[in-house]
Amino acid sequence: MSMLPPAAVFRLPWEVNSLKEGESVRTFGRLVCYQPDESRATLSAQHASKEHLVFVHTQFVEPFNPIIGAQYLVLGETENSEGVGVTVRARVLNCVDGVNIALLQRAVTEQRSFFAERESKQVEATHPGDGT
């Protein structure tokens, strides 16, 4: 039977660094650097007046057309590489330049708050009377 990979959950670029190894994620950022000899790309995103970098291992998606300065969406697994920190080993790397980042962030938050809301309702339903 087919071997499906695990679901790649949406993470905001500044959350990637705190992830454990081997998690499937999708995130985004502006391509600031690409080193083909090392199969390494760096995405960057601004959040709370700070720049956050996402390191991407591009071996599986090569060759690709790197457009420095364009927005990219990456989907893959987290890895801990020595000296660099968390790297995403990309299964998918799409150029999505022109994407409305603010709206995308809102959609991600919206989906999360929906799941949080639903889970808290279920906890309430399975433990009625708790916390009243």
Binding site: M1, S2, M3, L4, P5, P6, A7, A8, V9, F10, R26, V61, L73, L75, R91, V92, L93, N94, V96, D97, G98, V99, N100, L103, L104, R106, A107, V108, E110, Q111, F114, R118, E119, Q122, V123, T126
Partner: protein, 350 residues
């Protein structure tokens, strides 16, 4: 983990009876569920192939996601679709167009004034092939019934195509919309007439009285003959009871008559009541009156007035027909598109 995620977790004994499934609008829609929920929803024990999300019976879904796995066979594609909450296998049958081999000799032999249908058709086929053949990383939209084969849940695509989404506008819109659909529909328990079909359990008392009338009358729709004081043998010892029953029956029939639900075709010693909308001859008579008179110049533009129809049907069919009964007949005919209302009291037929 499964418990905390399981919005779909359900005791199989709680499954709503299948006779009620069709009343739930979600049942006949392609539900836009998160893949995670499609993978976790409970399969029906009454009918495999039907699933339950929050007591909504579901058999077909609509998903949008990234292709993260693909396999091609002669007859179908298998795409693994990831919407960020889960990954599901989608079985996408190739259409005939996609399988047909290109014949290079066919094209370019005729030119119809700059428009070459053969070439256009080839372009169309190429466009379709482009939309059906997806690569990993591309966005796909899949609709179709959910199947469980070899312990694995998958979507048998009835429609599937590649979505061009260069700036993620479609994905973002989808991510914003789906939680709203959950809040408004999927996470709300479906309730029948605000009475709830599960708790308290479904019974006839929950139905509004008006539809009860119809339900009780329809199984024996033709004629009902009132048997005065002779309901059941052995009850004769209880004349009081019988008299009350008979009185009650009279009152009920009067109410039904006033509403036009039943009528007496002829006033005679035998009290025969006919269920108005089940009287095929009456329906035909009314239809004929309207059809014939719609042709007359006088009514051609505006249609026939209800009172005109009433007097014509009374002359032709039954003197006893009430206006209320006629209105029910008109409503039935209009629902069947046999007649068309031109105002709230005028009708035409073609």
């Amino acid at each position: 983990n499964a418990v905390s995620d399981g919005a779909a977790a359900m005791d199989p004994a709680e499954e709503p009876p299948s006779i009620l499934w069709g009343l739930d609008p979600v049942f006949s829609a392609f539900a836009r569920l998160f893949v995670r929920d499609i993978l976790q929803m409970t399969e029906s024990i009454q009918i495999p192939g039907i699933y339950f999300y929050n007591f909504h019976p579901i058999y077909k879904v609509d998903v949008l996601g990234t292709v993260v796995y693909k396999r091609e066979r002669d007859d179908f594609f298998c795409y693994g679709v990831d919407d960020g909450t889960g990954v599901i296998n989608c079985l996408c049958w190739k259409s005939k167009l996609l399988k047909e081999e290109e014949d290079p000799n066919k094209c370019g032999d005729a030119d119809f004034g700059g428009f070459n249908p053969v070439a256009e058709l080839r372009k169309l086929r190429e466009a379709q092939q482009r939309r059906c053949r997806l690569d990993i990383g591309e966005l796909i939209r899949v609709r179709g019934p959910v199947k469980t084969s070899r312990q694995q849940r998958e979507i048998m695509a009835s429609t599937f195509y590649k979505v061009d989404d260069p700036v993620m506008a479609v994905q973002i819109a989808w991510m914003m919309e789906v939680p709203q659909l959950y809040r408004q529909f999927y996470d709300k328990r479906f309730e029948l007439n605000a009475a709830g079909y599960r708790n308290p359990p479904f019974n006839a008392d929950n139905l509004p009285v008006r539809s009860l009338n119809k339900i009780h009358l329809k199984p024996k729709p033709t004629d009902y003959k009132e048997k005065q004081n002779s309901s059941v043998e052995g009850e004769a010892e209880r004349p009081f009871c019988n008299a009350r029953l008979s009185q009650l029956l009279k009152e009920v029939l009067q109410v039904l008559q006033n509403e036009g639900v039943v009528y007496r075709k002829v006033k005679s010693q035998d009290e025969v009541y006919t269920v108005t909308t089940q009287d095929k001859d009456l329906l035909i008579a009314v239809k004929d009156v309207i059809r014939e008179d719609s042709k007359r110049e006088k009514y051609a533009e505006k249609g026939c007035h209800v009172l005109h129809i009433l007097s014509a049907v009374r002359q032709r069919y039954s003197l006893n027909l009430s206006k209320a009964a006629l209105e029910l007949v008109l409503k039935t005919l209009e629902c069947d598109s046999d007649i068309v209302s031109t105002s709230d009291s005028h009708y035409v037929a073609f």
